[in-house]
């Protein structure tokens, strides 16, 4: 595509603009509720611009609730999960991509099956197992559980990225004297950076927004993660919309930052030379 057609460019930018608008509009609404004073939330709800502006909700959330603690916990759990899952999944995805061996079909089937039932069904057994391992009310317990939940998807993702890299690369490296593992590390790994970045991004946000197990496995207030924290704004009598939306808005910042950080790797293309011949 060497010619750049001005009409085409305009259309492209318009399309991108529409996507961004669609993605951001509900979040704008979230923010709008977060900065609207409580009394006005129901009366001026449908106006596009907020009629009054207050930062009270944000102040309350940051200083008067335990939200900063919840954030910290979520960061630890999500970061830990992302790292461990990616390590395990890269290894497993590589195996699926490069080897054919007896039992491969069974293992793939087992991984697929883990995606096919509502996690609700295993909550009681997992609870009992974690209680037995004394991992209840522990961030490590959550990390282990989340890693297990995310490994199948991450593995399949990494497998498809590995599939896109020709085997000749590491074969060539191995003929030159590397072990398979060294070939993997030095030659193949750098080429999977876009895939790796995508995987990290997904796992982080999946762990970041998980609610059910965080709710069930954690009891004490100082270990709660932020989705559970959001739920505390819903009492039997009222939903504290202003504060909840403020907390929700704040929570989006780390995800956004994390993603902006890794998207640099996402768009690294393959260097042309390595692929040819």
């Amino acid at each position: 595509m060497t010619h750049s057609n001005p009409t085409r460019s305009v259309l492209r930018y318009a399309a991108i603009g529409l996507y961004v608008a669609f993605a951001l509009f509900p979040l704008y609404w979230l923010l709008k509720i977060a900065i609207t004073p409580d009394k006005l939330i129901y009366t001026t709800g449908t106006a596009f611009l907020p009629s009054a502006f207050t930062l009270d909700n944000f102040v309350s959330v940051i200083f008067l609730t335990d939200f900063l603690v919840y954030f910290k916990n979520s960061l630890l759990v999500s970061g830990g999960t992302a790292i461990f899952t990616t390590l395990v999944a890269t290894s497993a995805g590589y195996a699926f991509s490069r080897f054919s061996f007896r039992g491969k079909a069974i293992i793939i089937a087992a991984m697929l099956i883990t995606q096919m039932f509502p996690l609700l069904m295993i909550i009681a057994p997992i609870y009992k197992i974690m209680a037995g391992l004394k991992l209840l009310d522990s961030l490590w317990g959550l990390i282990i559980v989340y890693t297990a939940f995310n490994v199948p998807f991450a593995t399949f993702l990494m497998q498809s990225f590995f599939d896109g890299i020709p085997k000749d690369l590491e074969d060539a490296a191995m003929i030159d004297g590397c072990t398979r593992f060294q070939a993997l590390r030095k030659v193949v790994f750098p080429l999977t950076l876009p895939g790796l970045a995508a995987t990290l991004g997904f796992i982080f946000t999946a762990a970041w927004s998980e609610l059910l197990f965080a709710l069930m496995l954690i009891n004490s207030n100082d270990k709660m993660t932020f989705p559970v924290g959001l739920k505390t704004f819903v009492s039997k009598f009222a939903v504290d919309w202003g504060q909840m939306m403020a907390a929700g808005t704040l929570a989006l910042i780390p995800s956004c930052l994390f993603f902006i950080l890794i998207q640099r790797f996402l768009v690294k293309g393959l260097t042309a030379g390595a692929v040819k011949g």
Binding site: T43, A131, T232, F237
Partner: protein, 423 residues
């Protein structure tokens, strides 16, 4: 300097030993609250601290479950073997936990309690609803009354709050003529069963659920009229079109946002309404009476229960007793929005206001007969659940009131038979 250092070091060692010693002697109790809000947690922590101060070797951990997930979470904790010692027990859960033989019988401890005789009789009656024994010590009552928006009524030309059902429908019609406003904040979604039962009973002139032969009374002609009343309200547009899906939060929000003028609710709704509406704009009146001159507002409760699995039953019971003592109970019920459990509560300044008038009039008036939902039925929870979809169908006009009533009657009659047989 050296002297100072030694003193400090010595004190540190002593302090460490003392606290270690105290930790050794400590009994740890787990208290789970399920109807959680920041205000309640704060109050609860204060009351618990009083107990801990009076019992220095007991340490209480308060676990607060978000109400939306509280049932599932507590059930999972119990299923996984991690039972708390003391738990806040809503009336609708009592039959389940008591029926599974998980709760301690508190009858003896109430009898030997120094504050046991100031308990209102209703307190003991309700606490014994499941299985005839006091598996819970109620901390307060939920009683239905009618909130009304004074301003909307004035605008619509309604001078006095409605006293009868007919006046109620009439007033709702008038308010619905105002642009963008409707009369009744109907609870068509989860938790709306109380409304259907109340109006059915009111039009039927009786709050008995079952005849002497054990047949459900919900499909008697009077009851069907009551069910039809609500359907008419919705179909005629006297309730917001949205309300077929409305749960607790939506009806309360509908009321305080001025969208609908009438709200039948318990004193706990008063808390959120009072925060967002001027006291001059709303008031509370007893539920409207039916053709028989009586109304049958539902009454419910929540209380404290002790799990049988507790390893420290004396301390656990002691905690419950402390929380239920007259002073603690007054503090708690004021914050929480329920009617207190000890006699003479309405003398207190807090409960003598215009807003609480509605409830105390209900409690003390002859025309108002509090109705207790049949929570002793084993599958009452299931009935509550299935009533949602079936009643929504009726509101939307997909089935008749009679059809709905018959389906309910069949289910309830069978449940009642099962219960009778198990007695």
């Amino acid at each position: 300097m050296k002297q100072l250092f030694r003193t400090v070091a010595a004190s540190a060692v002593i302090a460490a030993t003392l606290s270690a010693g105290a930790a050794w002697a400590e009994t740890k109790l787990k208290l789970v609250e399920v109807i959680t809000s920041p205000a309640r947690t704060e109050t609860l922590n204060a009351l618990v601290a009083e107990y801990e101060a009076a019992n220095p070797d007991v340490d209480v951990e308060v676990i607060s479950l978000p109400w939306g997930e509280a049932f599932e979470k507590l059930a999972t904790m119990v299923a996984g073997g991690e039972m708390p010692d003391v738990v806040e027990m809503p009336d609708s859960w009592l039959a389940l936990y008591a029926g599974n033989d998980m709760l301690l019988n508190l009858d003896d401890s109430i009898a030997s309690w120094k504050h046991g005789d100031t308990l209102a009789q209703k307190t003991l009656d309700m606490g014994r609803l499941a299985g005839g024994k006091a598996y819970t010590l109620p901390y307060g009552f939920y009683l239905r009354a009618m909130f009304y928006n004074k301003r909307l009524l004035a605008e619509a030309g309604v001078d006095t709050p409605p006293h009868t059902m007919a006046e109620f429908m009439d007033a709702s019609a008038k308010v619905s003529e105002l642009p963008g406003k409707t009369g009744y904040c109907l609870r068509g979604g989860g938790g709306g069963l109380n409304g259907w039962i109340m109006y059915a009973a009111t039009m039927n002139g009786s709050n008995e659920f079952f005849t002497e032969d054990g047949k459900s009374r919900i499909n008697e002609p009077g009851s069907i009229e009551g069910i039809q009343f609500l359907i008419d309200m919705y179909q005629k547009g006297y309730a917001p079109k949205d309300s077929v899906n409305w749960g607790f939060n939506e009806i309360v929000a509908g009321f305080y946002s001025g969208t609908c003028a009438f709200l039948d609710q318990d004193p706990d709704a008063l808390i959120s309404v009072a925060e967002r509406m001027d006291a001059a704009d709303f008031a509370v009146t007893p539920m409207p009476v039916g053709p028989s001159g009586k109304a049958f507002p539902t009454i419910g409760f929540a209380g404290w229960s002790v799990f049988k699995s507790t390893e420290h039953s004396d301390e656990a019971v002691g905690l419950v007793q402390h929380l239920s003592s007259p002073e603690a109970n007054l503090t708690w019920t004021k914050k929480v929005g329920v009617i207190p459990i000890h006699q003479g509560a309405e003398q207190d300044a807090h409960f003598a206001t215009e807003q609480f008038k509605g409830w105390f009039e209900t409690l003390n008036g002859e025309e108002y007969v509090p109705t207790i939902m049949p929570i002793y039925l084993k599958n009452f929870g299931v009935f509550k659940e299935m009533s949602i979809a079936s009643s929504q169908d009726a509101l939307l006009g997909n089935r008749s009131a009679e059809d709905l009533a018959n389906e309910w009657a069949d289910f309830l009659t069978k449940e009642y038979q099962d219960w009778k047989n198990a007695q």
